[in-house]
């Protein structure tokens, strides 16, 4: 198998902007989260700034860039959460 297929969930601004809540992404086998990011930058260049500020979750866990993708992974694009005012340090 030379391809890996991940299903990418979209939320909030991404779902509204792209008009879908789940999109399939095909990548070469051995691809990492960093490669997935690159693929998204190429696919949606106008969303790059927001993509850069978003996290990627794999199987409901925040994933680092060097995480290697497997076929069937549940991937999700997590834009910045609502936050409220800038966080002050926890006393």
């Amino acid at each position: 198998m030379t391809q890996v297929l991940v299903h990418l969930r979209l939320f909030a601004v991404f779902r509204d902007t792209l008009g879908a809540d789940l999109i399939p992404v095909e990548l070469p086998a051995g691809s990492t989260v960093a490669d997935l990011r690159q693929a998204l930058y190429c696919r949606w260049p106008t969303l790059r700034n927001l993509l850069e500020r978003s996290a990627i979750a794999i199987n409901q866990e925040y994933a680092s860039d060097n995480h290697v993708l497997s076929s069937g992974d549940e991937a999700a694009l997590i834009p910045p959460v609502s936050g409220g005012q800038p966080f002050s340090p926890i006393p």
Binding site: E52, A55, A57, Q60, E61, Y62, P79, V81, S82
Partner: protein, 150 residues
């Protein structure tokens, strides 16, 4: 106790749920929908979650609280869907033997929710303009959560 709900939050029952005869302090936090952010008016907010991951993250927060404040009783309820101004979007109740820990643990839970739990809000203003609220900070980035990543 963790709950995501589309109904109005019965926060009184949440604070009752954490009361304990060994605990002398209860702190309840309510996040409510504000009508003004700076000069921008809000008519309604719509909350959306990546539900299974949000529940998992909330459960992790409970575990972290138990590690830092063993025996603390904690309840977290977050509302989803459309909320009017004044409605409660999130309620966190904590009880501990003494007040310092109850304040610290409740605060900890709120900061952790705002930093790491995939729940978003869309602001709807009185003119009907809708805008997702995505602050400049990056969520769940390796820089802020590196400890739990590798």
């Amino acid at each position: 106790m963790i709950q995501l709900t589309r109904e109005a939050i019965d926060y009184h029952s949440i604070s009752e749920a954490v009361r304990d005869p060994h605990h002398g302090a209860v702190v309840l936090f309510l996040g409510t929908v504000r009508d003004l952010t700076g000069e921008d008016r809000t008519l309604r907010l719509e909350y959306e979650a990546y539900e299974p991951m949000a529940k998992k993250k909330l459960q992790e927060i409970l575990t972290q609280v138990q590690q830092q404040w063993p025996g603390a009783k904690v309840a977290i309820v977050h509302r989803l869907g459309v909320l009017d101004v004044g409605e409660v979007s999130v309620a966190v109740a904590v009880s501990t033997p003494h007040r310092a820990e109850a304040f610290a643990a409740c605060r900890y839970v709120m900061e952790a929710i705002k930093a790491d739990v995939p729940i978003w809000k869309k602001d709807i203003n009185p003119e009907g303009k809708e805008q997702w609220v995505h602050p400049e900070e990056k969520t769940g980035s390796p820089a802020t959560t590196a400890g739990s990543l590798q």
